[in-house]
């Protein structure tokens, strides 16, 4: 579906236009700073008028995000940001609605709203800050904490099996599903752009370090020394290549992704799995790579699909009803079908 955007803003917006006058109160060193900075850096590239951006959040560290963006913002209640945002977008589709949420807010208390928003394909952009821990309530395990993780509420280790946010979003029917990291600003910016360009529910999982309660949870993927061997970047139409010297790749053995060397042995780049953002089956296979610790972690857009949005379809129904029945007349509505007169 083509993008329908209002005319470009008359004045060029800059990063300053998106920085609010509020002091940022996240812990020093928190990954949230990077997410905020990348969003503020990328927003001026977009074509909306400043007043048409709305940030919505629930409760948690990530949910303070709206206070720090100088746009319209609504800091709601725990887990309900996607529901509030759906109401905003449905009431006024002109608005560009962004949700900032976390693994607790978005996948635990707000899990129901998350999946149903994705299913409806409301055209809102969801940034899910995943730090695998509850930060604001001071260190309890979250629905993405890993098995065995020692937290304040699991002194003997986590025994709940964790959600894979990307798999959940795919299963729920989100039409754009992506994963990125706080420590990879360029990639994070690119994923924010992709979310903005998408017409439908965009779900972006961001690996975000909580340096106070779960420091280093994603080091393997975020640090220069280990990143190349542990992360594979997804690019539409390109083979899945990774490794320091781009010497490795992912090949499909049946439905199972396996690592192969492409530096002169049995396999070449031509044998590798080629990414296709339009292939939902492939997206599930890529999402499931997380279950094999040997495999690199895919980053990028897993899937980008075209499906009519909720608010577009609703507008269409209203338009059709008006075309066939005419604009509703209040007196006719009050009168109903059968009336009688008493003189």
């Amino acid at each position: 579906m083509p993008e329908t955007k209002e005319a470009a803003a008359p004045e060029k917006l800059t990063i300053k236009d998106f920085q609010s006058d509020q002091d940022v109160r996240w812990c020093p060193g928190c990954g949230d700073y990077s997410v905020l900075a990348q969003v503020q850096r990328v927003f001026p590239e977009f074509t909306h008028k400043k007043e048409n951006y709305v940030a919505v959040s629930g409760i948690g560290c990530s949910s303070r995000f709206p206070y720090y963006m100088d746009i319209y913002g609504l800091h709601g209640i725990h887990g309900r940001a996607t529901a509030i945002a759906s109401g905003i977008k449905t009431a006024n589709p002109e608005l560009d609605v962004w949700v900032a949420t976390g693994d607790g807010d978005g996948l635990s208390i707000g899990g129901n709203h998350m999946i149903h928003t994705a299913r409806r394909n409301v055209n809102i952009k969801i940034l899910l800050f995943n730090n695998q821990i509850y930060g604001l309530t001071k260190g309890q395990y979250s629905p993405t904490s890993v098995l065995g993780q020692i937290t304040r509420s699991t002194p003997f280790g986590v025994i709940d099996y964790p959600f894979v946010p990307v798999s959940l979003a795919l299963g729920a029917g989100a039409t754009l599903v992506a994963r990125t990291m706080d420590r990879d600003p360029k990639h994070l910016q690119e994923m924010v752009r992709r979310a903005e360009q998408h017409h439908g529910t965009a779900f972006v999982e961001i690996y975000q370090n909580c340096n106070v309660f779960n420091d280093g949870a994603f080091l393997r993927f975020t640090e220069k020394e280990t990143r190349d061997d542990n992360v594979v970047y997804l690019h539409h139409g390109e083979p899945l290549v990774f490794g320091k010297k781009k010497e490795k790749g992912i090949r499909l053995d049946g439905f199972t992704p396996t690592i192969v060397n492409i530096d002169g042995g049995k396999y070449s780049i031509d044998d590798l799995l080629v990414h296709d953002e339009g292939d939902l089956t492939l997206a599930f296979i890529l999402a499931n790579m997380i279950h094999n610790p040997e495999l690199p972690r895919p980053m990028g857009v897993f899937v980008s699909l075209n499906r009519p949005t909720y608010e577009d379809q609703l507008a269409e129904q209203i338009q059709r009803a008006r075309a066939s029945k005419g604009e509703g007349d209040l007196q006719a509505l009050l009168d109903g079908e059968e009336t009688w007169v008493i003189r």
């Binding site: 409760i59 209640i77 109401g87 905003i88 009431a91 029945k325 509505l333 008493i342």
Partner: protein, 614 residues
């Protein structure tokens, strides 16, 4: 043979049968025809929560009662004059509601050994000695229906499904009502989809009507003249439909789009159904994944400039509590319609109760005052919801409008208002960036400005954290919190300056005031009128604005020696009255899932007055 006509001032008829027998449809059809002839009326659908309970069982019995007359009708009737029972279970469960000397019309064919056993009866109740207290008419409705359709080659199951139209046709004949309206209904409802079914229903309806004409069972027909209602254009309306129209009309008058976020729940779902049809009015309905999402989406919609509303029943209101608190904090307009039902927990989903009053007034964490309005009759649901929307917009606050299962599903004639004469609902959106502050307040109403996303220069943040006065920034300042708690309460209190003074039916002072709210209006009014006719010094005060109360309510109450508060709960309004006015009120509390009966209230009034007046 020529039948004699007798004119009745009023009559109450109860249709009862299996929940699959179409008793609600039969009752509604009869009601619409009665309404169109200008009688005053009140109805009470009484159906089980099970959609199709096993046929013939007592828990599968569905009833529909209509009370109509040429006089003022305020209630669906404590008892009925005529009981139409389609099987033994329907007779067994409904006989207690029939007055002595009343008329019973039964489908004799359904009184088989099997059905008698299913109704947990030892013997055929038609043969019971107690039956002599009633006029019993045994009619083989199943066989007569089958005869009427003999040449149509229909399955016996389909034939059986049409027998309710036989009963309907017979009742039309007996009460001298024309069958045209139902003929039109059948043609419209079934004609295009299933020609055979339409034809069968029409034949059976006519067969029932003509049976009355030819049989010698009935020697008398009855007539009920039109009521002397105030002049005007009328329609018959159910409370849930009236509530839906109230929301749509308020949005239209305010120049806003209506957004209803709702999750299906008995007995409120009809509000969602009704509004979902109104797309050409720009009404957006959003069937959410749960009660919480429903209200949160409505809050989002209000934030974006629509009239946000949500419809629910008690358990749903409980789930919405936190979000209502958010709306209190955000100070955005929001209408919450609670169609109360029997509780606690799942309780009695299809039965009525008035037990959410304290939940509406107090049921949130911390200090979260809001306005509470209640409808008194099915048609009054329109005015109550409209008024709720007016207050919500003017005072930038959530308003809870209480109706209940009886009001929602009950029906009565409604004098249709002139759309142009509905109260205006002015809306002002903030636009001036030089003077805008998110939490500055109007001097008179104390409401904050409504600033919509999309307005250049007014970008600001609001949320559930405590706000600094005027700026709306997050504030943990102790004095500011104290100030904000009190100013939010003061804003709601000031609504009392904007609502009508409390009216009294009867003298403004005297021995006894009967104080009610909500759906007990009709029963209390009937009881008080009867008592006054007997010379008792009693008045009726029916409160529509439950929070804040009308400003003169205290003075009025002090004018009476005694105060009686009948409620379908264990004493909720009475607590609010005692707490605010310190009046020694006496409660009358019946919580049976049914509307209060006027006779029991009448007896209570007389016993309260008896001591001194004897």
């Amino acid at each position: 043979m020529e039948k004699e006509f007798r004119t009745l001032e009023e009559v109450t008829i109860r249709f009862a049968g299996d929940s699959g027998d179409g008793m609600q449809l039969t009752g509604t059809q009869f009601t619409n025809t009665v309404a169109a002839l200008g009688a005053d009326l009140s109805t009470l659908p009484d159906y089980p929560a099970e959609i199709r309970a096993p046929a013939g069982t007592t828990y599968g019995v569905s009833g529909f009662q209509i009370h109509f007359g040429s006089t003022d009708i305020h209630t669906p009737g404590d008892t009925c004059d005529v009981l139409v029972a389609m099987n033994p279970a329907a007779l067994a469960t409904n006989l207690r509601l029939l007055r002595d000397g009343g008329t019973i019309i039964v489908n004799e064919d359904a009184f088989t050994d099997k059905n008698i056993k299913l109704a947990h009866l030892d013997a055929n109740p038609l043969e019971a000695p107690g039956m002599s207290r009633y006029h019993l008419h045994r009619i083989g409705i199943s066989q007569l229906t089958a005869n009427a359709l003999a040449d149509m080659n229909l399955s016996s199951r389909l034939v059986d499904k049409t027998k309710n139209f036989f009963a309907l046709g017979l009742m039309y004949w007996l009460y001298n009502r024309p069958i045209d309206q139902s003929i039109r209904f059948i043609e419209e409802k079934f004609g295009s989809k299933d020609k055979d079914l339409a034809e069968a229903n029409l034949r059976v309806l006519k067969a029932g009507y003509h049976f009355g004409e030819t049989t010698e069972i009935f020697t008398t027909r009855y007539d009920v003249k039109p009521a002397k209602l105030p002049p005007g254009k009328y329609r018959n309306i159910m409370g849930n439909v009236a509530a839906a129209l109230g929301l749509a009309a308020a949005a239209k008058k305010a120049g806003l789009d209506l957004f209803l976020g709702s999750y299906p729940i008995t007995p409120a779902s009809d509000i969602l159904h009704e509004l979902s049809r109104l797309k050409n009015y720009g009404v957006k309905t959003y069937q959410a994944e749960d009660e919480i999402a429903a209200i949160c989406a409505a809050i989002g919609a209000s934030y974006a400039g629509a009239l946000g509303a949500t419809s629910t029943s008690g358990p749903g209101l409980a789930l919405k509590g936190e979000a209502i608190g958010l709306a209190v904090m955000l100070e955005l307009p929001l209408v919450i319609v609670d169609v109360q039902r029997g509780g606690p927990s799942t309780g009695l989903p299809t039965k009525t109760e008035q037990a959410d009053l304290l939940q509406a007034v107090h049921g949130r964490n911390s200090e979260a005052p809001l306005c509470v309005v209640a409808a008194a009759t099915p048609a009054d649901c329109f005015a109550a919801v409209y008024e709720s929307a007016r207050i919500a917009i003017k005072y930038m606050t959530p308003v809870i409008c209480l109706t209940d299962g009886y009001l929602g599903n009950g029906a009565e004639p409604w004098k249709i208002p002139d759309a142009d004469e509905l109260p205006e609902i002015p809306v002002t959106f903030a636009t001036d960036r030089a003077t805008f502050h998110p939490y500055s307040r109007d001097e008179k109403t104390l409401s904050r400005p409504w600033a919509l996303p999309g307005t250049p220069g007014l970008e600001h943040r609001i949320g559930g954290l405590e706000k600094q006065h005027i700026t709306g920034n997050i504030s943990y300042d102790p004095d500011n919190h104290d100030f904000m708690i009190k100013i939010r309460a003061e804003k709601i209190e000031r609504i009392a300056d904007d609502i009508p003074l409390q009216e009294v039916d009867g003298d403004e002072e005297g021995e006894l005031a009967v104080v009610g709210w909500g759906s007990s209006y009709g029963a209390i009014r009937t009881a008080v009128e009867n008592c006054r006719a007997k010379g008792h010094p009693v008045s009726h005060i029916h409160i529509k604005y439950l929070f804040p109360f009308p400003k003169n309510l205290g003075e009025l109450l002090y004018g009476f020696k005694k105060v009686l508060v009948p409620e379908i709960n264990n004493g909720q309004l009475i607590r609010l009255l005692r707490e605010k006015y310190l009046v020694p009120a006496v409660g009358f509390n019946r919580i049976k899932g049914l509307p209060l009966g006027s006779e029991e209230i009448e007896e209570t009034i007389e016993s309260m007055l008896g001591g001194e007046n004897a």
